[in-house]
């Protein structure tokens, strides 16, 4: 084996070239991480909106709450299910909600976004324990007061406490701001379900949510609802329901991200190749010397491959480090699955770091292999003759 310090010293010796190559690979890894962190961030934000043990019911084939319709009779039948958990007062942990979209203007750009208005009951908050009011209060006059999710209040016009929003032919005053531990609910407006039904003239609900008394009964409850001809409804774990809403967006970003990473990656591979070919050419005599000292072709090949991998790995580390700072960037965009605005952060995960390192090493292998082969195939005599 040729000592690894030989490769590393060479990288250090050719400072500028090494730096430029490392930066190139770093940039590519950064882009790669960014696209994966974006989809991961959205998925985590949405999934966090669901709580363990909660079940969501929407109309069959409706895909999302906005399109779902559940009539009062259907809601009543399900609310009486014995499998639903009870609270301390013996009341079922069950809520029927209305879910509509309204258009609001963003503070920063003035662009419009579709915002969820959720009509809720007094069980809606206990069912979602991560939600708590951090500023102001709960509504007292259900007919004209609303509370607003924190990230919505930060981004949209007229969402501060005391301000008014007009929808359903009346003005609503914001009386409270709620926090939902960064989940998708933070991008919603909440009001009383009866009042929402009145204001939007919707004599129906959009979704039902309840807590299972015993999670193992889920399949039985699902079968019970889906077999009942009066209930043409779809039953899902709340977490699965939210996970599904990020699919369309994630697929799109995933495809674009991979396409970008590959095209950026090709550029970086070419850059690495240039560097490694130059390293081989500059060290023709050294290679001859190493061979003359008794190192085998395979040793030379491995040594140059190692050098390429160290370069690409350094790039990978820089790229990941840069991407790490993206965690502080907040993105607000329309989630195509729900057609509504949602705010989320770029979110890194161990899986993304691992994938990024593999991607970086792959670029090193692709960029380093041909130059390493050239180095290993040099003839000793000829290499000494080189000028």
């Amino acid at each position: 084996m040729i000592p690894t310090s030989y490769s590393i010293r060479n990288i250090i010796n050719y400072k500028i070239t090494s730096t430029l190559t490392i930066l190139g690979i770093g940039l590519v890894v950064f882009v790669f991480c960014a696209s994966m962190m974006l989809t991961n961030g959205l998925a985590e934000t949405l999934v966090a909106s669901g709580s363990d043990g909660n079940v969501t019911v929407i109309r069959q084939a409706s895909q999302t709450e906005v399109q779902s319709i559940i009539n009062y009779e259907q809601a009543r039948i399900i609310s009486a299910f014995p499998e639903i958990a009870r609270d301390d007062n013996g009341l079922p942990m069950f809520t029927n909600e209305i879910h509509v979209l309204i258009t609001l203007k963003k503070l920063e750009s003035g662009d419009e976004g579709n915002v969820v208005v959720r009509g809720v009951t007094d069980k809606s908050m206990p069912l979602r324990p991560m939600i708590r009011i951090i500023e102001g209060r709960m509504w007292e006059n259900a007919g004209s007061e609303i509370i607003v999710g924190r990230s919505l209040a930060e981004r949209f016009e007229n969402c501060k406490i005391g301000e008014r929003i007009r929808f359903g032919a009346r003005d609503w005053t914001v009386v409270g701001i709620f926090d939902a531990e960064g989940s998708g609910n933070e991008s919603e407006i909440w009001c009383d379900v009866e009042q929402a039904g009145d204001a939007f003239r919707r004599p129906v609900y959009s979704s039902l949510t309840f807590r299972m008394a015993d999670s193992s009964q889920f399949e039985a409850v699902k079968a019970k609802i889906e077999d009942d001809r009066r209930l043409p409804l779809e039953v899902l774990w709340e977490k699965d329901y939210y996970a599904r809403q990020s699919e369309a967006f994630s697929t799109f970003i995933g495809i674009v991200g991979i396409a970008l990473s590959i095209s950026f990656g090709l550029g970086a591979v070419v850059g690495a190749m240039i560097t490694m070919y130059a390293a081989v050419a500059n060290r023709t005599k050294e290679i001859g010397t190493l061979r003359a000292l008794g190192f085998r072709r395979l040793n030379i090949l491995l040594s140059f491959m190692f050098e390429a991998l160290v370069i690409s790995l350094s790039g990978g580390v820089i790229g990941i480090a840069g991407a790490f700072f993206l965690r502080f960037v907040r993105v607000s965009t329309t989630n195509w699955g729900t057609f509504s605005e949602v705010a989320f952060n770029f979110e890194i995960s161990a899986g993304i770091v691992a994938a990024a390192i593999i991607f970086a090493l792959l670029m090193g292998i692709l960029g380093g292999f041909l130059p390493a082969v050239r180095a290993s195939r040099m003839k000793i005599v000829e290499s000494f003759r080189a000028v």
């Binding site: 882009v31 974006l38 109309r59 319709i69 970003i253 095209s263 550029g267 240039i274 195509w336």
Partner: protein, 385 residues
Amino acid sequence: MKVLKLVTRNAFRRKLRTFLTILGLALAVMAFGLIRTFINAWYAGARAAAPDRLITRHAVSIIFELPLAYREQLLKIDGVEDVTHASWFGGYYVDPKNFFANFAMDHANWFDIYPEFIVPPDQLEDFNKERNAAIIGQGLADRFGWKLGDKIPLIGTIYPGDWDFVVRGIYTGRDESTDETLFLFRFDYLDERMKVESPDRAGQTGWYALKISDPNRSAQISRAVDSRFDNSWAETRTETEKEFQMSFIQMSSAIILGLRIMSYLIIGVILLVLANTMAMTARERVSENAFMRTLGFEGYHLTGLILGESLFIAFLGGLVGIGLLTLVAGVASEALSQFFPGFQPDRMTYLYSFGAAVIVGVLAAVFPVSRALRIKIVDGLRVVD
């Protein structure tokens, strides 16, 4: 002339390296162009918008519907020539992943107000005769292999149930930017069924399209429409078709911004590749440059030589890159036309892509030039590689 020869000779002194550099540049220039083309395609709907059409929708949000009775009142407003309407249906074919736009429209005059959708007259006649008839875009027909007379079942998301349609027409776009991926069917088919299944949802439509007599008066007519319905339960919001389209595009403005940032980052990748090559060249030619200066060549000669070489390589990379762009965009536009229209690089995209390469050519020369100028002749001659 001699200088030019020296520049090209220098550039090809290390053939493999120069070849790789050009390849790297070309790939990145192509990627830059593709990202820009992709962003432009996103705006295709807004580009296709006609100036003489206004869209009236519910003021609260697009998910709320307007009464059908508004049509008569809209027609009375000064400057409105004709009114048609449509409802987003949001159905899917077999699997929700098979997304395409499908909506119910007023078959009586939809195609008069949207003349960019070209339907053969006999097909239009068939369409008008049958209640569950549909007219689909050529791109959509290609995507699923649908032909005239095919029965297409859609599963309703907003309007529950299974809905069966028969393809009675296939339209083509008049313009490059016309969307050929739509699935259009008759509004009366939707409304009649709603009357039976959920009467409170009947008699409502998603949005109105207004043909106006004078595009210059669009703002004034919009205001007239909206004030007509002020303080009614369903207040309206009227805007030009372009603004209407833009409001959908802006919903994804964060994604578009992200793509734009990517397109600048890829210029960074090109810069790094070329700068690397030029830095290597500078390193190898230290003594040679010193030697030239002893012969009496001045700093500006060296600057010209190095900058010339950098620009020459960038130029070739840019040329190959936009060649690749044309090639790839051609293939992609063919493949993507079934999903979205307008994936075609425009003149500005070519210009920017090539311009990016040239700028990179200048920037990459900065370091080698400064190094060549700074080094003392004596030191330069002393360097042993």
